[in-house]
């Protein structure tokens, strides 16, 4: 390591700074009835639950335990749907399940990176579009 002269140390009191006082913005999500019949409609509750959890991934290396639990539960059920998904979701849902796994395995070790959340969000948006577009 070369700390050397370029190192700048900025001690900061972070209390109250790590998260917005208002918390994460609630995402605008479609209604369950907006989901197409078939796999989409069956998976709608889980997709919506995932959609509500995504903004809470945050930008830190840690992910709240309750969010991790939501991811695990939702992933478990979405994986079940992915095994026999309608053609419109055949490629989308497995990708979504896989990216949830990428977030989970890093979150559980406190090495989560926001870019993984962005990848998950992209897969989620694609699934949502396939179901409600």
């Amino acid at each position: 390591m070369r700390l050397a002269p370029v190192l700048v140390c900025v001690p900061l009191l972070l209390a109250g700074c790590s998260s917005s006082p208002d918390g994460p913005v609630e995402p605008e999500l479609p209604a369950e009835s907006d989901f197409a019949q078939g796999t989409c409609r069956e998976a709608a509750p889980d997709l919506l639950e995932l959609g509500r959890a995504l903004p809470r991934l945050g930008d830190d290396s840690t992910v709240p335990a309750d969010v991790q639990q939501v991811l695990a539960d939702v992933q478990d059920r979405l994986a079940f749907f992915a095994e026999a998904a309608d053609p419109a979701l055949a490629g989308v849902l497995p990708t979504l399940v896989e990216r949830i796994g990428g977030v989970r395995i890093r979150a559980v070790g406190n090495s989560y990176e926001p870019s993984l959340g962005e990848d998950l969000q992209a897969a989620y948006d694609e699934a949502l579009a396939a179901c409600t577009g």
């Binding site: 390591m1 700390l3 900061l12 994986a79 079940f80 990428g102 890093r106 406190n110 090495s111 998950l120």
Partner: protein, 624 residues
Amino acid sequence: MAPPLQSTTRRRVIAILAAGATAASSAALLAPGTSSASSHREAPYTLSDPQADNTDTYAFVSPDNPNTVTLAANFQGFQEPAQGPNFYPFDNKARYEIHIDNNGDAKPDITYRWTFKDVDNRGTAERGATDGTFLLNDGPVTSFDDATLKFKQTYTLQGIRYNADRTEQAPVALVTDGKAAPPNVGKASTPDYAKLRNEAITPVTTSAGAGKSFAGPSDDPFFLDLRIFDLLYGGDLSEVGYDGLSGYNVNTVALQVPKSLLVANGDATKNPVVGVWSTTSRAKNRVLLDNNAAPQTSVDEDSDTVQASGPFVQVSRLGNPLVNEAVVPANLKDFFNRSTPDTDAKFLPKVQDPEVPILVESIYKIPNPNKLGGVVAKRNDLSAAFLTGFSKDVFAGRTFGGLGSGVLDADLNSLDLNEVSPSPVPAEYLRLNVNVAPKKPGDQGFSRLGAVGGDLSGYPNGRRLTDDVVDIALQVLEGVLVRPAGATKNAVAGLGDAVNASDRAVTAAFPYVALPHSGSELRKGTSPLQFRQQFLSSGGVVSARAYGISPGAKGGTAQLVGVMGNGGLKHLGYAKIDASGRTTSTLQVRQRPGLQLTLLWRITPASGSGSEAVSGPPTTITVR
């Protein structure tokens, strides 16, 4: 179609882990538990024979003397520093060996053999003495030769070369009656242990020049969070980052010799790569004395209970770390330990289809890299890492029958780089290209992740004491070398156990292993002052905090310290400690992304608390 119940995942995981020894052995990479670390107590036999248990092997170009190579092997892990009065001597009936293959036949061309002799002056009347004692020492010990050191060990180091028919040539004695460093009993018994350790560094004269030998206890340089098993469960590991081997010692043998001594024909230009592994061997026959048999009248190479005889056979083996844990099923671990590298092809199926990715897929639903794109493929990356090494010929499939093809197009550490061995045998051992310049922590380009982190002077090009082989292995097993670029590759590229260094920093000079913990130290869990530290980086800022600070530090302060490239320390800031045992503020260090910083917290209790200040382990983090 009804979705499954939430508990299905957990039940499935439990079923997998309970399914049998094979699953459990695979999980051991992620979670050795107290029964296994790199290769600590990993096999049924070594559980019962801890003195013979070979835990880790290291081979690296000496950072302070790059014309030499340092070889080291560790034995008998999980040594509690205060465990007297016997402590943890080497077994005087075992052979501790490090082997070199420099012509690619996976058989030793050179063997360095350490054997130990007890110098036992504790005495009993039955053995002709009048003042028997149970203590290792009956006064302070300031020198190996002090009369107060009642029990000690000397050793012989032999260098052995082989005839064409594989018989051993006459051994060359490199060290005779060498001093094995005694245990670090405690501050009353061994007040200047560093001096005692230095006495145990013995000069060696070889045909190629001067070298050094060492035998004795050291801090176990292996590091990992033993609780990582819970990660596999998906449990709450909000406090990952605890080195489960911190505070424990291990027995080390180490040798530094000119690199020209190790390479084929003494020519490192034409033959730069050597294979390295270590073993422990025992006499084949062991006889226990009868009930009520009288004490033996003399102390010789037999103990008072066991008499050994017959040819020596191999009982423990170590090349690459974690292989006998993460790759070899439980019921084959003893078999692996007595196998020789030239027969390793039989383990190929286990290497190419490891079980850890299967478990990870079951739990996290990250597809097993063995079937990327829906095609079940051999894991050539694992073949290359464990069995062939990396070279352009390996990459092109021109050697080793195509094992390892297409993984890394670089001439790094395959023995097919040697002029003498164009068609080497696949074998599980460390491979070191002695011509790659060494890097140590603080050097430009150093990475604890070795070649995976872009630092070709580290594992799997040999193995340095500072290489984070758990994180490397986890990432490689999960396919970081073979997955296509994208989200999943990014996810597995950051896997790890959050323990990035040993609790004690390696030393700058031979034997490099840190001094052993003293018996006076209180191990974690009994110490009045414990804490955890966390360093996170994002946006060019490293955020540092300490937490889980034991009540003994109440009212004290926490100091953030940077470790400089030269090993010096730099004060970076203070934080107070709140009643819940956390720093009241998170300190931030701003730096350019990509730079590596080594940081630690030092906790100082309030004056009058009776507790002593303690420092966390130096932790290297890459600024993101």
